[in-house]
Amino acid sequence: MLKDKYGKEIEDILSRYPVTRSALIPLLYVAQRDQGYVTESAMQEIAHLLRLTPPQVYETITFYTMFNLKPVGKFHIQVCKSLMCALVGSDTVIEWIKTKLGIGPGESTADGLFSLSVVECLAACGTGPMMQINEDYYEQLTENKLDRILTDLRSTGTSPLKSGPFMWPEPVKT
């Protein structure tokens, strides 16, 4: 039960909104963080917490692309393929990942480590090609960089190549 595990956080979220339904998306994020995807029982519990019907929760969750209704790999790779990234080579990045991991869009590796999705614009057009893995952005990708990221993730679960607070271009040093 989410309420037993995240009681304080849920209370904090509910206190922010005068109308409880507003807490729906934040609570779905809590559920997704817990399991990696949103389970049916979590949806039912959230419906109960917010005094909604289960269909009201379901109609909302299915509108938004960031919620997984099925389990995904430990590292969910999302590569942007919109025009601005495509101009600077995002299709090649997708090919690299396909070759290196042996999976296509919508598939996961057999060990459950990586899933690949091809997505639309992630607001990093000046630093494309780019991808998001779980919560982190990786920008200005090259084949070398991609190799290092995948190796880092396999061995340590994180990579120092992820983006920090965004600024591009960097100020010129005088």
């Binding site: 922010r16 005068p18 109308v19 339904r21 507003s22 807490a23 729906l24 998306i25 934040p26 779905l28 994020y29 917010l50 109609e59 909302t60 509108f63 938004y64 692309t65 960031m66 919620f67 393929k81 919109s82 025009l83 601005m84 495509a86 101009l87 600077v88 639309e120 614009c121 992630l122 607001a123 990093a124 057009c125 000046g126 630093t127 494309g128 998001q132 919560e135 982190d136 952005y137 983006s163 920090g164 607070p165 965004f166 600024m167 591009w168 271009p169 100020p171 010129v172 040093k173």
Partner: protein
């Protein structure tokens, strides 16, 4: 390198600037708030903003002070401010930088706006993918609350303002202000029919103002330095101030450049962004994000302000300038954008929902060299029946790439179709899937 005075990006360009409260205060941060609370009446703040000529930086370019003025004067009950940080227009990445590098500048703008419109609650609706940005904002709100800039009785003035970060969950349409409100209410992000406008019936049916991140970040500077100063920058009288342009595509130095409005595209692309990345010349550019029609090298001397870009047949939109070099297929480029719109259509209005799938299928067929000459008329006919016939502006946006590329580069379409006809490869296309 910057040839003009920076306003919004000034702090973050200083070496060692971290965006913390201490850093922001050192550069004069929160002075505008101190000088306003209890000293300038809320209505006068609105008057200052109106006088400055500040227009919305999200896309539509509506005058901010006028928007605030639409709120009912005598309404008893809560009002809301929503900061639109759902930045998801392809080609745009300025709000991300403003929030992640100088979050207090945005927060000060939010508190000033709340004071002006009499709101005690502000929600920052940030796009769900920007996890780092939402953490940075949460941290900054914590700092500002501890220092008394946010919370009960701000700086002892009696003003109460609460600011919350609300993450979206991956829907482009939620950048449309009424869809944003629906989403914030925990529903599917379907735009509302207007009127009534959010100014009277917004979040929870209460008077609401929705302003873009960049718009709000301008407020402290306008209050500090006066509306006359701001109104003199850029391309007065109608496009005042600076704009953070996001340059992407085939240029040497893509990125965010803050320049006064009214600068030409040529100057922005060749002097700031370093020109084209190779010796291939510029073939096409989009001046204001994916929703803006494509323009040609003949438009390089168009001034980047609301009026001049509109007169050239496009729009300034969100300030995302995407540059394409010679050799880029315009049919391919329009198809890529069309696929984006097809994926993001919310499904509320039939012309957009069904039309986007027709457009994508027809475009894919032409690009795969299976097109027919009558497809071109079909495209134009579809576009004509989508634009202006939907609840929100998405319908107008999704036809822009096709209409503009057909206008300027029709021969590329024709060439692909001629190749198809020569090879006699015309086969039925499988149904497109989202």
């Amino acid at each position: 390198m910057p040839k003009n005075e920076l306003i919004l990006l000034k702090n973050m360009m200083q070496p060692g600037y971290t965006g913390s409260l201490a850093d922001y205060e050192k550069t004069g941060g929160y002075q505008a708030l101190r000088n306003t609370l209890g000293k300038i009446a809320p209505a006068d703040v609105t008057a200052i903003v109106r006088k400055s000529g500040l227009r919305g930086r999200g896309g539509a370019g509506f005058p901010t002070g006028v928007k605030w003025g639409f709120l009912p004067k005598d309404y008893q009950g809560p009002r809301y401010l929503c900061c639109n940080a759902d930045e998801s227009e392809p080609g745009t990445f300025k709000d991300r930088q403003l929030m992640e590098r100088d979050p207090h500048q945005v927060l000060e703008g939010i508190v000033l706006a709340c004071y002006a419109i009499g709101s005690e609650t502000a929600y920052i609706y940030i796009r769900g993918e920007m996890v780092l940005g939402s953490k940075i904002l949460e941290h900054a709100i914590g700092e500002a609350r501890a220092a008394g800039y946010i919370g009960k009785n701000v700086l002892g003035s009696g003003l109460n303002v609460d600011v919350w970060v609300h993450r979206g969950a991956g829907a482009y349409i939620c950048g449309e202000e009424t869809a944003l409100l629906e989403s914030l209410e925990g529903k599917r992000g379907l735009p509302r029919i207007k009127p009534p406008f959010p100014a009277t019936h917004g979040l929870y049916n209460k008077p609401t103002v929705v302003n873009n991140v960049e718009t709000l970040a301008n407020l402290p500077h306008i209050v500090n330095r006066g509306p006359e100063w701001f109104a003199a920058i850029g391309s007065p009288p109608k496009s005042t101030g600076t704009r953070v342009f996001c340059v992407s595509g085939h240029v040497k130095r893509p990125g965010n450049y803050e320049v006064p409005m009214g600068m030409t595209v040529r100057e922005l692309v060749y002097e700031y962004a370093g020109g084209m990345r190779s010796d291939k010349p510029l073939k096409a550019f989009i001046p204001g994000g994916a929703s803006a029609p494509f323009l040609t090298p003949a438009h390089l001397d168009v001034k980047l302000d609301f009026e001049h870009v509109a007169a050239a047949g496009s729009m300034l939109g969100s300030g995302g300038v995407t540059v394409m070099e010679e050799g880029t297929s315009m049919v391919w480029a329009a198809l890529r954008l069309m696929e984006f719109f097809y994926h993001e259509s919310c499904g509320k209005c039939s012309p957009c929902r069904e039309g986007s799938s027709w457009l994508v299928q027809t475009m894919r067929r032409i690009f795969a060299k299976r097109g027919r000459m009558e497809d071109l008329e079909t495209l134009l006919d579809l576009c004509k029946n989508i634009a202006g016939r939907t609840v929100c502006a998405f319908g107008d946006a999704e036809v822009a790439p096709i209409q503009s590329t057909l206008k300027h580069w029709r021969h590329e379409y024709v060439e692909l179709i001629n190749q198809a006809e020569a090879a006699n490869l015309i086969k039925p296309e499988p149904v497109a899937r989202r």
